[in-house]
Amino acid sequence: MENKIEISDLRVHYGDTPALNGISFDVHPNEILSIIGPAQSGKTTFLKVINRTLEFTPEATVEGSVKLDGVDIRTIGDVYGLRRRIGMVLPLPVGLPLSIYDNVAFAPRAAGLRTKSELDEIVERCLQQAALWDEVKDRLDTLGTKLSGGQQQRLTIARALSHQPEVLCLDEFSIAIDPVTTMRIEEVLKTLQKEMTILLVTNLVQQAKRLANRTAFFLNGDLIEIDTTDVIFSDNPANQATYDYVNGTFG
């Protein structure tokens, strides 16, 4: 089985402050890989490396390599195309100050799609996938920023799906939404797994346990352990820190 993403000896510094200290692992196609770990452990930085939005942080330096389908992402000339291959859902929902329709149609339009019927179809499909369609189908022209927090988060998921990504990254997507909506989105993710690879950064270890095929534990910029979720959450993972963290006895 070809690996979807291969990370080898990835190091990131913000100025003199290290954020990732040489991590290496592979991401398999069509798996849900969850990344857990306390604050400051480098989870978000890792996602930013993958879609190369870390390049907007001037003081950040990246060493090592990240390969997507065997191609080093830093050699990809069309960085905008790369970002469209990777869907990104950020922790706090960001409804762009555009209509709901325009929010979802943003990425396809940025990629050059103009046909109204195709855009209509994408918008409907993505909103349905994100479990938001029924709530907003009659008011697609109202501003995305007017939706509630949970709805906006589903809107960002719909937006991330709109460019049909191969990899979907979710960065603590559930911190701003209620448990019921969270469960609905988790169901959606399980369905999406058939079509894409999902990287799930989460602070809720139970969420990782519910969803992930494999789980990686980050701590202070190091990859402590990566294994199947069953092993990570068992009584004897390879590392004691992993056990302490998932069982809430950390520190």
Binding site: L90, L98, A107
Partner: protein, 302 residues
């Protein structure tokens, strides 16, 4: 605790009361000044405005002969058109340049260059208008004569360029603030969707900052309408219905500035100049009102 303490007046410290009163006075003073100025201007012109002035002629006649011995005529149409045409021309130049510069400074240039840029723009804003008038009178005059083969370079175009140069710093600094106020999370979200930097600007930032950008443009326009010395020096100061960028014009403000020193206090001519002041007051009031309504309208949409 603070909230609880505020409710019982007896517990408010004395210093708090003093500061609050002082700040309230500052706020009220702005209103007092505006009404005071309006009252004074209105009082000087009211006598003639309600007794003797043909308001129809005042607003629609292009004939401005306030010092004619046989037949005094106070028509300000040419002056009104002068003010509006030179302002419109100035805005045609200043808005694209100003907004473009603001977008560049806020989104595209390096932090180091940004600081330099801002200092230079503030420097531009600090140049007194009489200096702009001087530049118009000398440099721009010759330039227009040379480029357009015009008989004289003191024209609407000259004044418009001077006004544009004066409004650009205002537009840039306010528009840049408006763009900077757009949360970075919008930029990040749009960039994560594969938008290029320019797509981020025109698809996300411009819609998000439109209130502030509109305010920038309107403040620039207000600066142009009210400007006196530069247009007095650069536009030829000749009563004339403008027929194109190369015609010489005279504005409402320049007329007041040039003629007020020459008239007898309380005379008809003197009062008419104050009525022009009232007219200017009304114009700026209407412009501000429209701006408020437009911005309110946009807010309700969003």
């Amino acid at each position: 605790m603070n909230i609880l303490r505020k409710k019982s007046a007896a517990n408010v410290p004395f210093s708090e009361t003093v500061i609050e009163t002082f700040i309230r006075l500052c706020g009220v003073s702005a209103i007092v000044f505006v009404f005071g100025i309006f009252f004074f201007v209105f009082r000087e012109g009211a006598g003639f405005l309600f007794g003797g002035l043909d308001l129809g002629q005042f607003l629609t006649s292009p004939e401005w002969y306030p010092t004619s011995l046989s037949n005094k005529r106070y028509g300000t149409l040419a002056l009104i058109l002068g003010t509006f045409s030179v302002t419109a021309l100035a805005m045609c130049i200043a808005v694209p340049f100003g907004l473009g510069a603001a977008i560049f400074v806020s989104e595209f240039c390096s932090p180091k260059l940004r600081e330099t840029f801002k200092i230079i723009i503030e420097l531009l804003a600090a140049i007194p208008s009489v200096v702009w008038g001087f530049i118009g009178l000398t440099l721009m005059n010759q330039l227009i004569i040379a480029v357009f083969n015009a008989p004289i370079g003191l024209t609407m175009l000259n004044g418009g360029i001077m006004l544009a140069l004066m409004s650009v710093p205002i537009i840039v600094s306010i528009a840049e603030d408006a763009l900077k106020a757009v949360p970075d999370s919008y930029r990040e979200a749009a960039e994560a969707l594969g938008a290029t930097r320019w797509q981020v600007v025109y698809r996300v930032l411009l819609p998000a900052a439109k209130n502030g950008l509109l305010a920038a443009v309107l403040l620039g326009a207000a600066r142009s309408i009210g400007e006196t010395m530069a247009v007095l020096m650069a536009t030829g100061h000749s009563v004339n219905i403008p027929s194109g960028p190369l015609s010489w014009i005279r504005t409402l403000t320049a007329t007041i500035a040039a003629e007020l020193g020459e008239v007898a206090r309380g005379a008809e001519h003197y009062q008419v100049l104050f009525i022009i002041g009232i007219l200017l007051f009304t114009i700026t009031f209407v412009v501000n009102l429209i701006a408020d309504l437009v911005i309110k309208g946009i807010r309700q949409d969003s």
